[in-house]
């Protein structure tokens, strides 16, 4: 069974530039999550999708971050414009059922903002 795929693995940009991350969840998983993991901290939920609808985006900085999950499969997370404090690993995860806590994570996309 293929796991959660993310790209790019690494990205370096300058502040005020834009960046986009892509995630393809495990086939059949209806729930998709984006987490932000800053160095030395645990992952923090940015947004949760159930199929192509947003379940929770309460911690997404909506002035600069956006995410979509068209057709309820793969998803894109965008940051525009980036700030220095956005340097982090962006993790995508999926789960078969919502609320079980059993998430499958991708390897992450590491963003460095200079």
């Amino acid at each position: 069974e293929a796991g959660v795929a993310q790209s790019p693995r690494y990205k370096i940009i300058e502040k005020r530039q834009s960046v986009a991350f892509w995630c393809n969840p495990i086939s059949g998983h209806a729930t998709l999550y984006w987490y932000q993991q800053i160095l030395g901290q645990g992952p923090k939920l940015l947004i949760q999708f159930q199929n192509n609808g947003v379940v929770d985006d309460s911690q997404l900085p909506k002035d600069r971050f956006s995410a979509e999950r068209l057709k309820g499969v793969d998803s894109t997370l965008k940051i525009q414009p980036a700030k220095l404090e956005d340097s982090a690993v962006y993790l995508c995860a999926s789960s078969l059922f919502e609320g079980t806590g059993e998430l499958f994570f991708g390897e992450g996309s590491r963003l460095t903002v200079l």
Binding site: G42, P43, L45, D56, G101, E102, F105, G108
Partner: protein
């Protein structure tokens, strides 16, 4: 509000000795609790979960954790460490959504 505190940011053990990674949680209700592991350059992987059944939970690779409500703890243990256990471990509490601790980096010395 739910929260989780991992009491050690780094733990170092010798191969073949016991592992103890400590976690305390705060929750208004009876929470679900999890341990996830993250090996270098790999995605986070679920080790084990507690959901109000048996208080001693067994996970993969010989790990287990005991839920102690009176102490609000959910410590992770393993009788004998292996070199492949070197990784970062996250304690997670869940009421409506998952809240991760800051992580404990486990180092295993040969």
């Amino acid at each position: 509000a739910q929260s989780v505190t991992q009491l050690d940011s780094h733990v170092s053990v010798s191969e073949g000795t016991p592992v103890l990674l400590r976690c305390n949680y705060s929750s208004s209700y009876s929470p679900s609790l999890f341990w996830y592991v993250q090996h270098p350059n790999k995605g986070l992987q679920l080790l084990l979960k507690y959901t109000s059944a048996a208080t001693l939970v067994k996970g993969i690779n010989g790990f287990e954790a005991e839920f102690k409500k009176s102490e609000t703890s959910f410590h992770l243990t393993k009788p004998s460490a292996h070199m492949s256990d070197a990784a970062e471990y996250f304690c997670v509490v869940s009421e409506a959504k998952l809240v991760f601790g800051a992580g404990t980096i486990l180092r295993v010395k040969s």
